[in-house]
């Protein structure tokens, strides 16, 4: 099939156009706008599905990719900025997931937000967001990746703050934007490093992934230092900071729970399925940099700490969306752990499977919240202590929610098991091989146990037992099947089955494909861009404008897809055995977690209250999110930043402007005052006026003398002569 920009770009342009048109029609035709957005995203889904089908059925190879660029602008011989489209197997899958899950969530949103007075506004923001995320998936370069990434950040900001009549969404949206912004500026710095290195190696700066891979394959980062840190490490850290911010990893995890202030479909789309996963996607895209920078251990620690820490916080939440929010952070931690232990493939697989089941869980929680109407406050109820027994009222929702909880807990035959087990298995291998990895390994397994526990705690508290708020329960209508409420949930829950991802449906692939043995399709298609794989980019030359750079599916040999990852037969066997132990362990852990939740909340043989009072110190710590919010907001921002900025502003206006600038004016005033005084007194009064006065005085004297009276003259002559004679006589 012929790919051109014209037939790929509509994937992004359709939702974007829906946003543009919608912003004009939103006020007059809200219903039309909502439908138009859904249709646009469905169009993106069809286009993505076509590409996906082509990649997975026709081009069954990890080496196949489409790369097409155009020049955005060009500032002369040394600076040409190319943007373009890069689709490999990974982006093809991501496109399908984003547009598919996105469409279902939009469909659900027509139910959930249908009554809202700003329904159309909501839909167009969601549409813009979807365009941003699809743009991320299509980007062939870090710059447009970053731009779409920020557009998503903006939509996230607008949608978290959607209920702007209240204070809390305003705080939450700002917190979300600012926290991710910290990661984003580092990401931007990473871009600068890449531009500089590609300029050094190719003589022409570039942001494209293939050029980046090309530079790494040619050793462009080797031996370079920046501010005393090896350049690859620096770049890797910058990119990983982007991941930490966007995917809410430790220590920037604080924004995601607050982001639940947004409407629930937003939480499902942005803060569970796509945007937060884009952080992990970035790590996967720049994986060679992380590897070249020797950052994988660091990455695995961050992932494991996040997975574990967030899971513990999820244990004590009473708000149904908060449980899911912490669970999202924790699952993202698993993905990052997967990157860190080097299981690239499983990390991406978990990204996809998690997107499906977590979107479904959020939508189900939305379905629950939307049906629970508190007639006293007029609002909806999210607190689990007021729920209970709801499975009788909403059987469909309860059904899909249990299915998805099984998936996230890692119960066999569900998607979560397939992906999470592979991450944990790899962690186990790495942990036993290298003691550095033992802590991430242990934390990973404990987090998996906690996941099963808190998910079923949520299920039992919501759907089982007796209703704890009878009035609320009685007011809740019994669920009737409706296409925009239940259909999306059912479709999503269908895709939480493991067989889609493991390939057990057909033995190995989505279809039988000759030449590949014993490998599941997902593993075959997504290949880690490690040193071995990068070699193909070594002689890469970027193509001129207009040329489609489609890598033909090369004739792959078995060695190319060596399932043993280049291990010797003995090592491979050992690894396989460990993987098996890992699988058994994680199955055991999943059931243990569910069983504990059952004991605590159904059988009531363990009393949760007793645990909370006995370990009240820990309980409070978890309730207060390990005091991170307190530290960041009350200490760092209020005590340090605010004080500092007030000090600077005081220096600026109070000292510099008031004393020095105006002071300089005062000095001048002082001198001009005395200059005027001198002028007035010495020059004018004494000098000028004095001269005048002197003249006037002599004038008076002389005028008096020359009176013209002859008698007077005689008197004077007489007096002069007399005095002369007197002096003579005296002498």
């Amino acid at each position: 099939m012929d790919y051109t920009i014209a037939n790929i770009a509509p994937i992004v342009l359709l939702p974007f156009l829906a946003f543009v048109i919608g912003s004009f029609t939103a006020k007059k035709f809200p219903k039309f706008t909502g439908i138009m957005v859904c249709v646009a995203i469905f169009g993106s889904f069809l286009l993505s599905a076509r590409i996906f089908a082509d990649f997975v059925f026709n081009q069954y190879s990890a080496d196949y990719y489409i790369h097409k660029t155009f020049t955005w602008f060009d500032l002369g011989p040394t600076f040409k900025l190319n943007l373009g489209i890069y689709i490999d197997q990974m982006s093809a899958m991501l496109l399908l997931m984003v547009s598919g899950v996105g469409f279902l969530i939009h469909l659900f949103a027509t139910y959930y937000m249908g009554e809202d007075k700003r329904y159309a506004r909501y839909m167009i923001y969601m549409s813009l967001f979807t365009a941003g995320m699809l743009g991320v998936a299509l980007s062939d370069n870090l710059l447009s990746f970053f731009m779409f990434w920020e557009v998503m950040g903006f939509c996230s900001y607008s949608l978290i703050g959607f209920y702007y009549e209240r204070e809390a969404p305003g705080d939450a949206s700002m917190k979300a934007f600012m926290t991710t912004r910290i990661g984003d500026v580092f990401f931007l710095f990473g871009l600068l490093i890449v531009w500089n290195v590609t300029t050094q190696v190719n003589g022409q700066g570039s942001f494209t992934f293939v050029d980046l891979y090309n530079v790494i394959a040619n050793g462009g980062f080797d031996g370079q230092m920046l501010l005393g840190i090896p350049l690859a490490t620096f770049a890797g850290l910058c990119f990983f900071m982007g991941t930490i911010g966007k995917s809410a990893q430790f220590p920037l995890q604080i924004w995601l729970p607050d982001a639940m202030q947004g409407p629930t479909p937003t939480s499902a789309l942005i803060h569970a399925a796509t945007m937060v996963a884009a952080g992990v996607y970035l790590s996967l895209r720049v994986y060679p940099v992380l590897e070249a920078g020797h950052l994988l251990v660091f990455v695995s620690y961050i992932g494991a700490i996040t997975a574990f820490g967030a899971a513990t916080m999820a244990l004590v939440q009473t708000d149904i969306k908060a449980v899911l929010a912490y669970s999202t952070i924790s699952q993202l931690g698993f993905m990052v752990l997967g990157v860190g232990v080097g299981n690239y493939n499983a990390a991406f697989m978990h990204l996809i499977t998690h997107a499906v089941f977590k979107a479904c869980l959020f939508l189900s929680s939305g379905s629950v919240i939307h049906s629970l109407h508190d007639h006293h406050t007029g609002g909806h109820v999210q607190e689990m202590p007021r729920m209970g027994g709801l499975r009788k009222k909403m059987p469909y929702t309860a059904f899909v929610m249990v299915i998805c909880s099984l998936a996230i807990s890692g119960v066999p035959f569900f998607s979560g098991f397939v992906s999470k087990d592979r991450i944990l298995g790899e962690a186990l291998i790495m942990g036993l091989k290298n003691p550095v990895y033992s802590l991430p390994m242990v934390l990973g397994f404990v987090a998996a146990l906690l996941t099963a526990f808190y998910m079923f705690r949520m299920i039992f508290l919501t759907f089982y037992g007796a209703p704890r708020d009878q009035e609320l329960f009685d007011h809740c209508h019994t669920e009737k099947f409706s296409f925009n409420r239940n259909l999306p949930l059912l479709i999503l829950s269908l895709f939480t089955l493991g067989l889609w991802y493991s390939g057990s449906l057909t033995g190995q692939g989505l279809v039988k494909f000759p030449g590949v043995e014993n490998k599941e399709w997902f593993q075959t298609l997504i290949e880690k861009p490690d040193a071995h794989h990068l070699a193909k980019f070594k002689n890469y030359k970027s193509q001129a404008w207009g040329k489609v750079d489609v890598k033909p599916a090369i004739d792959f040999s078995k060695s190319h897809y060596d399932p043993t990852h280049g291990l010797s037969a003995e090592e491979a066997h050992h690894a396989h055995t460990l993987h098996l132990y890992g699988a058994v362990g994680s199955i055991f852990i999943a059931f243990l977690g569910i069983f504990l939740a059952y004991l605590m909340y159904i059988r009531k043989s363990l009393n949760p209250g007793w645990w909370a009072t006995t370990f009240s110190g820990w309980y409070q710590t978890l309730k207060n999110k390990y005091y991170f919010d307190h530290f960041y907001i009350d200490v760092l921002i209020k005590k340090v930043l605010f004080k500092f900025q007030d000090f600077i502003a005081w220096v600026d206006m109070g000292i510099w402007d008031r004393i020095f600038i105006d002071g300089w004016a005062n000095v001048n005033n002082f001198f001009s005052y005395w200059a005027r005084k001198f002028d007035d007194v010495v020059v004018d009064t004494i000098g000028v006026d004095g001269t005048g006065a002197g003249v006037r005085f002599f004038n008076l004297v002389l005028r008096t003398l020359q009176s013209g009276k002859i008698q007077f003259y005689f008197v004077v002559i007489f007096l002069v002569m007399a005095s002369y004679l007197l002096t003579l006589r005296v002498a």
């Binding site: 557009v151 903006f154 702007y164 204070e167 600012m178 912004r181 900025q645």
Partner: protein
């Protein structure tokens, strides 16, 4: 086409004189006459843009005007534009058109106000078009006069203090500039064969090894006068520590004057660097490069921190200008293709986004008659504006996010280009500049949060949403900010050849 610049330059000045003939009771006639003049001027600017040949580096031949003015001193009336001045000329045309609409809100002495406004436009055109240093200086000084009266008469409560401060501060810089002009005039005789004020002739690093005997010391001529010009231009930009006139002037100035001040006037400073300081003294430019880059960084962070602390919206945006102009200085100091292009683009983009912000604050001020985010008594000055004025809020969001450099809006590309340009010579500064990006988002969003979210407070309950006239002049800016964010070529294309030439010329003198 010849003489187009003459029309653009003298039309507003002629208009400002003709307004004086309209009887002062006919307020509407005065307003619409101003609108007519600025519209025609803007159309002429567009014609200029259309005829611009982007392949020509340096001065566009079709715009060149040259005739003797004062022959005995070799002073010429010499105009011309290149890719660096064209965006400035164009935005000057645009912003004055918008401002003449926005100035319908002026309450007193319409005749004088609109006359001075047109005078201001003409003199700013003159600064961006002059190729004779003497002529440049004349326009530079003439511009101060209408500005002084516009702030001093139509300003806020403390207007006289602000106007005098603005005038004296800028005048101080101008005097230093005048010294440099005269010194260059005489030095040219030895170096170029004849005394001249012609900028194009003076360019090219002719004064590097001249010595200046002062108080018995032999000082390097070019460094001394580069420093003098630096102070003159730095006051205008403004570069820390010469920035404190700006918050006063902005807060006191009427809306349209704030818009012009931030949108065009500040750019005269950076334009001076690009047109005069660097091309005439390239060696000194390289010598002071590190220093200017660090000052740019200080501007970015210091301005942002000061902005965070403000409780007056207009003052906050004024400080944000200080911060954003730091990016321009950083890009210029980097002296790379990317950095310089980024700097010139940032001059243009900042003109758009900051103009939006000041116009929006002006619109709000018309309703509230105060600008406190938090009043001096510690109460909320605004609250819940989002619910009260939804259309206004959407425009505000566009302006706000353009200011903080959201990709997809115009500010991002220029900031990114500056960072790309700065990274190579100054990686540390680029790294520290990131703090400015974070703080930039922080103060804007924090302001937005405090003013727009939450319940509508009592004093805000009567504010009307934007009316048709306000919508009419805000819409083009919104459009431009979004359009240039996605497709920056209309501006980048016209400037890149000239900027490229400047970078190459400067690179020849790199030590």
């Amino acid at each position: 086409m010849h003489g187009l610049l003459n029309y653009i330059l003298w039309l507003p000045i002629l208009g400002s004189l003709l307004i004086l003939l309209i009887p002062k009771e006919k307020v509407n006639a005065i307003r619409w006459f101003t609108v007519a003049v600025t519209t025609v001027t803007f159309i002429l600017c567009c014609i200029l843009y259309v005829n611009f040949d982007q392949a020509v580096p340096g001065i566009q031949p079709f715009t060149a005007v040259s005739m003797p003015w004062i022959k005995s001193f070799n002073i010429y009336y010499k105009l011309g534009i290149d890719g660096i001045s064209l965006p400035m000329v164009w935005i000057n045309g645009l912003l004055f058109l918008i401002c003449s609409f926005s100035s319908f809100d002026i309450k007193k002495m319409h005749k004088g106000y609109f006359s001075l406004l047109l005078m201001l436009q003409g003199s700013i055109f003159g600064v961006f078009m002059s190729l004779d240093f003497f002529l440049f200086y004349v326009f530079w000084e003439v511009m101060l006069l209408p500005m002084f009266f516009l702030i001093g008469i139509w300003g806020g409560d403390n207007r006289e203090y602000a106007a005098i401060k603005f005038f004296l501060y800028t005048f101080f810089g101008s005097v230093l500039m005048l010294l440099a002009i005269i010194a260059l005039y005489f030095a040219a005789e030895g170096r170029l064969g004849a005394e001249t004020f012609d900028m194009v002739k003076l360019m090219g690093g002719h004064f590097a090894d001249l010595k200046l005997s002062l108080f018995g010391m032999d000082l390097p001529f070019d460094k001394v006068f580069f420093a003098m010009l630096f102070v003159g231009f730095a006051i205008k930009v403004p570069i820390f520590p010469f920035h404190t006139w700006l918050p006063h002037a902005h807060v006191q100035a009427p809306t349209a004057v704030s818009v012009i001040l931030a949108g065009v006037l500040l750019k005269m400073g950076t334009y001076g660097f690009l047109r005069i300081s660097y091309p005439i003294f390239p060696q000194a430019g390289h010598y002071f490069g590190d220093f200017i880059a660090w000052l740019g960084l200080v501007n970015i962070i210091y301005g942002a921190l000061c902005a965070m602390a403000q409780t007056d919206v207009k003052k906050l945006i004024a400080y944000s200008s200080v911060s954003h102009m730091g990016f321009v200085m950083l890009g210029i100091a980097a002296m790379t293709t990317e950095g310089m292009n980024g700097a010139v683009l940032q001059m243009f983009n900042h003109g758009l986004s900051t103009a939006m912000m000041f116009l929006l604050i002006g619109i709000l001020y018309e309703r509230s008659h105060h600008r406190w985010i938090v009043t001096p008594e510690g109460k909320k000055g605004f609250g819940g504006l989002y619910a009260q004025m939804p259309k206004y809020s959407i425009i505000f969001i566009i302006g706000l996010f353009a200011s903080l450099g959201l990709p997809g809006l115009s500010g991002f590309i220029s900031e990114a280009l500056v960072f790309i340009g700065v990274f190579k010579p100054y990686p540390t500064i680029a790294l520290l500049g990131l703090i400015g990006l974070v703080l930039g988002a922080a103060y804007l969003l924090w302001m937005f949060k405090r003013m727009f979210f939450g319940e509508i407070i009592d004093s805000c309950k009567e504010y009307a949403d934007v009316n048709k006239r306000e919508m009419f002049y805000m819409a083009p800016l919104c459009f431009l900010v979004i359009f240039l964010g996605i497709y920056p070529l209309p501006i980048l294309d016209v400037m890149k050849t000239s900027v490229g030439k400047l970078v190459i010329d400067l690179a020849k003198f790199a030590p």
